[in-house]
Structure formats: structure tokens, C-alpha cells
Symmetry: C2
Subunit: 495 residues, 2 copies
């Protein structure tokens, strides 16, 4: 074996350890009884440390140097080597004991959060979060030094390779200028029409689940290679050949859960469509979290909340819940599914107000990482921000700063990728409509194959071959912009 081939073997082993960790994390969120938390923390911390040790072993560094001195000619192998180096740099910047401490503190804080959240009791999780944040700031400082970035940007780079604050600020400032006026306009349009009729429940969980599975299959989800389960915070996890998505059900409303399921199905289709020849290699993984979110939002927001999909789905919804009458028409459901309504919860937000949720979190986590704010300031700053950005008075932390798992699991620097993904989703779907004539008519018949074939070829199947920027340029003709997103919003909410 030459150096590159030895690296493939080494990184394949590291990926298998990380996959095992992902399955344990899925189990922790979906299956594990509370009393298993401490043992699980030990297991997950041990796997993280082992992966880190394998990555930072002296042989790995030597192999990387040797392979780079005689780089492979094949473009996939060359990209794989580039991504190996990227991962190695992130790992080598951090001491093993910090990796272990972060894993333990994250598991502990997440478990406390699981109890604090429903109780709306920030004080309960305050100490665990402060301890975790302290370690995350150590991590950020170490990576900042190694990469020559700001501490926040160094964290962002973990989720969005080459993502930079300057680009985010440019895009977010543009949105921040556009959206308040747009939201007012959309609300005015909405008010001028009769309110859509809400279908009457209750909507039994079993029927919601069956409908969700049917629509997942229509999108292309293969249950021989994945599962749908329940968790407090919906997510997509697992591995490309065994993708695990979750949702939560409310019996008085099926829309949020169903659209959540379709959202996670978009993530799942990306994972499943990654290049099979590059399993457990860096180049075979998804190209950052912004692209990942673009795929979930493309399926949910661009497609499934739109009128074409609802032509196909409305009869299935009526059948699932015995629905009948004016509330169940495609037109009424379309208006119901594309309703602008400023609210407290990010994951339930419409796409016009969603960026405000992200901008709030981006500002707060930037301040927390920079040390300009402490954990004790968080509830107050959150509530002030919600007032300023969306005009809402947060009644308690349950629907305020306790609502998202991210910080309580140690994920700082992740939030901006949601709105970058929303922009990319609009841009990619516009390109797909141009490239695949009749794609929307197919969707109206429940046929996702033409769309998914194009996505496999232009996004999913390319893994991490290109940078996010080049992937977008090749797929859509331009880097990330706000234009397609704005056009989409206008077409959906102002017409």
C-alpha cells in the first residue's frame, strides 16, 4: 500500500468509530432510559477519544505529508486527501483530554436539558451549560490559533468548511434589510384574504405515522435502509446505509410533524445519495451543514409546502384522517402550509420569519464565544432579541432559550448554516426546475424520481468532492446569493 492507500484504511477505521458514536447518540436520544446516561457518556467519550487518537497518531501526520508529496492523480482521491488533511487539522488542534471532557460535558448537559426544557427551568441546566461553554471556548481558542481564524469562525468551520463570518454577515445583512418589510407585506396579503380553515383533529399518532411513512416513500426514502422514530428534538442521524430520522407528534395538529418528517427526509435523501464507492472516507461525506440543510429545506419548504406537492398529498391526508370539506382542499391546505406567523419556536417557524430566529442565535452565540456575554445573561438577552427582531414577548424559557438542543449539546457555530441552507435550497431548486422540464408536474403526481435523479447527480452523489462554493457554482451557475430565496418568498407569499 502506498501512503494514500494507508490513509484510506486509517480514515475508514476512524469513520467506523464515528459511525458507532452516531448510533449510540441516536439510541441516547430515542431509546435509552434516563438511568443509562452516565454509562453512555463513558462509551461516547471513549469513542471520541479513540477517534481523536487515531487521527492524531504520529503515523497519520507522516502519511499525510508523504501522500501530499506524491498526490494521487484521480480527482476523487485528490479531494479525499484534501479532506483528510482538513479533518486532521481540526483534530490536531485539540488536546485529547479536552475532547474527552467536551464529550462528557455535552452528554451530561444534554441529559439535564432534557428535564429542564419541559419544566422551563433554565436555572436547572445553568451550571451544566456554563461548564460546557467553558470547554467549548477552550476548543474555539485552540482551533482559532491553529487556523488563524477568530474563535467563533473556527467553530463555524467545523460545521461549514471554509464558512466565514464575512460571507454570513453579507448575506444576513441583506436578509435583515429585506425581511421586516417583506413580512409586513406578506401579513397584509394574508389579512386581506379569509383565514385558511384548520382541519379538525384529533389526529391519531398512528395515522400520522402511517401518512408520514407513505410520503417519505414517495420522496424516495428506503425503509430497508432507514427508520422513522420519535424524539424530543427531531433529527436525522445514522449512516448512509441506515439513516435514522425522528419526529414528535401532537394529536391536535398533524402539519408540524408531517412537514418535520419531510424535512428530515430531505436530509436522509442526501445521506443515502452520497457516493457509495466512498463510504467511510472524508470525500464520501456530505459537503457541510449548509448544503445538508439545503436538502431538507428543498424537500420541505421548496417542494412539500408548495401547491404541486399538495395536489398529490391532499387526497392522502384526507384518507389518513377521514378529512372532508373546505378545510381539506388543496387551496386551503396550501394557504395553511404557507402561512406567515411570527412565533417563539424556531423549528415551527415559517420561512419568512425563520431567518430572524437564526440571526438572534448567531448574535448570542457569537457573544458567548467571544466572552462578551455569560450564560447568566442568556435568558434576558434572548428575550430582548425576540422582542427586537420579531416583536414577541417570550413568556418563559421553555419557548425561549431552552428550546433548541444545540448549545446544550455543545454545538456553537452551527445555527448560521440553517439560513445559508434556506438560501441554497431556493437557488438549487430554481436550477433544478430549469434543468428538468416538468419536474413540478411530476411532483404533483407524487413522482420525485426526476428531481431526486438531478439532485443525486448535482449534489448528493458529489459528496465532498468540491467546496460548497464550487458545488453551488457547478449546480446553479453562481455562489450563494439571496436572490433566489427572495424570489421564492415573493412568489409564494405575495401572489
Amino acid at each position: 500500500m502506498n501512503s494514500y492507500e494507508k490513509l484510506e484504511k486509517a480514515f475508514g477505521r476512524i469513520a467506523a468509530i464515528e459511525e458507532a458514536g452516531a448510533m449510540l447518540h441516536w439510541d441516547m436520544s430515542v431509546m435509552m432510559p434516563h438511568g443509562g446516561a452516565e454509562a453512555r457518556g463513558e462509551q461516547m467519550a471513549t469513542l471520541k477519544v479513540l477517534a481523536h487518537e487515531q487521527m492524531t497518531a504520529p503515523e497519520t501526520a507522516a502519511l499525510l505529508d508523504a501522500a501530499e508529496a506524491d498526490p494521487p492523480a484521480d480527482p476523487w482521491q485528490a479531494a479525499n486527501l484534501r479532506e483528510m488533511r482538513r479533518r486532521w487539522r481540526h483534530a490536531a488542534a485539540v488536546r485529547g483530554d479536552l475532547v474527552e471532557a467536551l464529550s462528557r460535558a455535552g452528554t451530561r448537559c444534554e441529559m439535564v436539558w432534557r428535564e429542564a426544557r419541559p419544566a422551563g427551568d433554565f436555572a436547572q441546566v445553568r451550571d451544566a451549560l456554563a461548564a460546557l461553554l467553558g470547554l467549548v471556548r477552550e476548543l474555539a481558542a485552540a482551533k482559532a490559533e491553529a487556523f488563524g481564524l477568530s474563535p467563533y469562525e473556527a467553530l463555524l468551520d467545523q460545521y461549514e468548511p471554509d464558512g466565514r463570518v464575512a460571507e454570513i454577515d453579507r448575506l444576513f445583512d441583506d436578509l435583515a434589510a429585506f425581511l421586516p418589510g417583506f413580512v409586513d407585506e406578506a401579513l397584509a396579503v394574508q389579512r386581506a384574504r379569509p383565514a385558511p380553515l384548520p382541519p379538525q383533529g384529533p389526529f391519531p399518532v398512528a395515522a400520522q405515522r402511517t401518512l408520514g411513512e407513505k410520503l417519505m416513500e414517495a420522496v424516495g426514502f428506503d425503509f430497508n435502509h432507514g427508520r422513522l422514530d420519535i424524539s424530543l428534538h427531531p433529527f436525522c442521524s445514522g449512516v448512509p446505509d441506515d439513516v435514522r430520522i425522528t419526529t414528535r407528534y401532537e394529536t391536535d395538529d398533524f402539519v408540524q410533524s408531517l412537514m418535520g418528517v419531510l424535512h428530515e427526509t430531505g436530509h436522509a435523501m442526501y445521506e443515502r445519495g452520497l457516493p457509495a464507492a466512498w463510504r467511510r472516507q472524508p470525500v464520501g461525506t456530505a459537503r457541510g451543514m449548509a448544503m445538508h440543510e439545503s436538502q431538507s429545506l428543498l424537500v420541505e419548504m421548496q417542494v412539500c409546502r408548495g401547491p404541486h406537492f399538495l395536489e398529490f398529498a391532499a387526497p392522502l391526508m384526507r384518507e389518513a384522517f377521514g378529512g372532508d370539506g373546505a378545510a381539506w382542499t388543496v387551496e386551503n391546505l396550501s394557504r395553511l402550509y404557507a402561512r406567515v406567523a411570527p412565533d417563539f419556536i424556531r423549528v415551527d417557524a415559517d420561512e419568512a420569519t425563520y431567518p430572524a430566529h437564526v440571526i438572534l442565535r448567531y448574535r448570542l452565540e457569537s457573544a458567548l464565544i467571544a466572552g462578551d456575554m455569560t450564560v447568566d445573561d442568556l435568558p434576558g438577552a434572548w428575550n430582548e432579541g425576540m422582542k427586537a427582531l420579531l416583536g414577541l414577548n417570550v413568556p418563559d424559557d421553555r419557548v425561549g432559550c431552552l428550546q433548541d438542543i444545540h448549545w446544550y449539546d455543545g454545538a456553537f457555530g452551527y445555527f448560521p448554516t440553517y439560513t445559508m441552507g434556506a438560501l441554497a435550497a431556493a437557488q438549487i431548486y430554481a436550477a433544478a426546475r430549469d434543468a428538468v422540464p416538468g419536474v413540478q408536474d411530476s411532483i404533483a403526481r407524487g413522482e420525485f424520481a426526476p428531481l431526486m435523479a438531478w439532485l443525486r447527480q448535482n449534489v448528493h452523489g458529489r459528496g465532498s468532492l468540491l467546496s460548497t462554493r464550487n458545488l453551488l457554482v457547478e449546480a446553479t451557475g453562481k455562489p450563494l446569493e439571496t436572490e433566489a430565496f427572495k424570489s421564492h418568498l415573493k412568489a409564494r407569499y405575495l401572489v
Copy 2:
């Protein structure tokens, strides 16, 4: 840290890797879609190899030598060091690539078996089993050489430390001489009475599950530290603070599943009762598979199929299924639960015919490992053996040589521990009755606490402090014998 303390750290890490592997195996059996098998195989093989590497690292051997030169005075630490050396010897006897190949071949064969078994198609799994057996024989040869044992005995030692064929032969020959006559006698007693009335189903799965959970809780199972799920082959897995047991349900019979659940609960109580101060240390683990099976059989066979427990459980059974009338009396249920009936399936077998199932498998696997028999001979030899031992003609391999997961998962040398456990269960329960006056009256009221307190003190909480032999001698006054088991059989089936 001195050498011993460094070893505690190293073995703690190895145990965390093994725990992660156990959780992945649970998921594979209970949750994983079929298409995830290959990726799971990679993950589990990688963890096995990592644990093996950590164990056989030169530093581990050096630390063991150093610690043994200056052994700890504390008896738990001393026992822990002894068990570390035992594990090290098992690991060091085997090459890393064989560990990896065995893990992969076991996962692959188990997945094929899952399809071959319901189809009764031995040919489908033949090649996978032959490949796996070849590797197991390599393993046996390597360990035989290192331990100075026969290849079969070297495998046995993995499951039953210090278990020896001479002891098994002595006990099994005694049983083989006693049981045929006893079974005839028990059948004659049964025939002389009116047949017990079978309660009429259907017994809905949800009601079976609820009843099972209620009885698990009565025994002492803590759902904050464990789960009950469904799998093809019932088992107990997980970790002491998160014990996962499984069952399978038939709607026309609730007895087998319920007694299976109670059986696995016995295993779970052992795991849960292991000394908490020694989590993830060799001395903190269960004392071999015979003792483990003794705890499941003590709960199921000694207690829960007996009349005292049924006084408590029968009203709950009536309530669960709306049962009423003569079929639901304690007396009728007792006779139904203690019925001798030679049959094809080991896991459904009564305790009088069960040893014949074990003796058959013990003979066959001994021959397979010794090379006196090939995989192709297996179905025929199985069917001949069933005819000779129980007088039954096996109609197809589904209820013949495909019924058990063990061989298809690479577990050869495990089967004898079932019957060793049955003997130990009778011996230990007899000792508990002597030591705890009124223990059976408590059980009749659904109170397991007195029994469990005694078991925690005399068995569960001792972990691997003593050898199986010494543990039994201290708890019951003698090493493993057949007398208590025979007395139990006579008392239950001939009176």
C-alpha cells in the same frame, strides 16, 4: 498512578468499547433495518479490533507483569488483577486480523440466518456458517495452544472461566442417566391427571407487554435502567445501568413470551445487581455464563413457574386478558406452566427435557470444533440426535438446526452453560429458602425483595470476586451438583 491503577484505566476504556459494541449488537437485533448490516459489520468489527489492540498493546502486558510483582492487598483489587490477566491471556492468544475476520463473518452469518431461519432453508446459510466455523476453529486452535486445553475447552473457557469438559461430562452423564426414566415417570403422572385447560386467546400483544412489564417490576426490574423490546431471538444485553431485554409475542399463547420475559428479567437482575463500585472493571462483571443462566432460571423455572408466584400472578393474568373460569385458577395454571412435553424447540422446552437439547448441541458442536463433523453433516446429525434423545422426528430445519442463533453468531462452547445454570439455579434457590425464612410466602404476595436482597449479597454483588466454584460453595455450601436439580424436578413433577 501505580501499575495497577493504570491497568484499571486501561481496562475501563476497553470495557467502554465493549459496551459500545454491545449496544450496537442490541440495535442490530432489535432496531436496525436489514440494509444497515454491512455498515454495522464494519462498525462492530472495528470496535472489536480496537478493544483487542488496547488489550494486547505492549504496555498492557508490561503493566500486568509489574502489578503482579507488587500485587494489591485489597481482595477486590487482587481479584480484578487476576481477571485482567485472564482476559489478557484470551486476547493475546489471538491475532488481530482473526478478531476482525470473526466479527465480520459473525455479523454476516447472523444476518443470513435471520432470513434462512423463517424459510427453514439451511442451504441459504450453509456457506456463511462454514466460513464462520472455519474461523472459529482457527480461534479454538490458537487458544488451545496458549492455554494447554483442547480446542473445544478453550472456547468453553471464554464463556465459563475454568469450565472443563471433565466436569461437564460428569454432570451431564449423571443427568443423562437420570432424565429419561424421570421424563417417563413425569409423563405418566401427567397422563393420570386430567389435562390442564389452556386459557383461550387471542392474547393481544399490547396486553401481554403490559402484563410482562408489571411482573418485571414486581421482580425488581427498574425501567429507569432498562428496556423491554422485541427480537427474533430473546436475549438480555446492554450494560448494568441500562439493561436491555427482549422477547417475541404470539397472540395465541402468552405463556412462552411471559416466561421468556421473566427469564430475561433474571439475567437483567444479575447485571443490575453487579457491584456498582466496579463498573467497567473485569471483577465487576458477571461470573461466567453458567452463573448468569442460573439467575435467569432461578427467576423463571424455580420461582415463576411455581405455585407461590402464580398465587400472585394469576389474578394479574386474569385481569390482563379478561380471563375467567377453570382455565385461570392457580392450580390449573401451575400444571400448565409445569408441563413436560418433549418438543423440537430448546427455548420452549420444559426443564425436564431441556438438558437433552443441550446435550445434543454439546455433542454436535464438540464434533464440529474437533473436525469430526462438517457443516454439511449438521442437519442430518441434528435430526438423528433428536430422534435418539427425545424420540422426535424433526420435520424441517426451521425447528431443527436453524432454531438457535448461537452457532450462526460464532458462539461455540456456550451451550453447556445452560444446563450448568439449571443445576446451579436449583442449588442456589434451595440455599436461599434455607437462609431466608418465608421467602416463598413473600413471593406469593408479589414481594421479591427478600429473595433479591439475598441474591444481591450472595451472588449478584460479588461480581467476579470468586471463581464459579467458590462462589457456589460460599453461597450454597457445595460445588455444582445435580442433587438439588433432581430434588426440584421430583417435587414439581412427581407430586
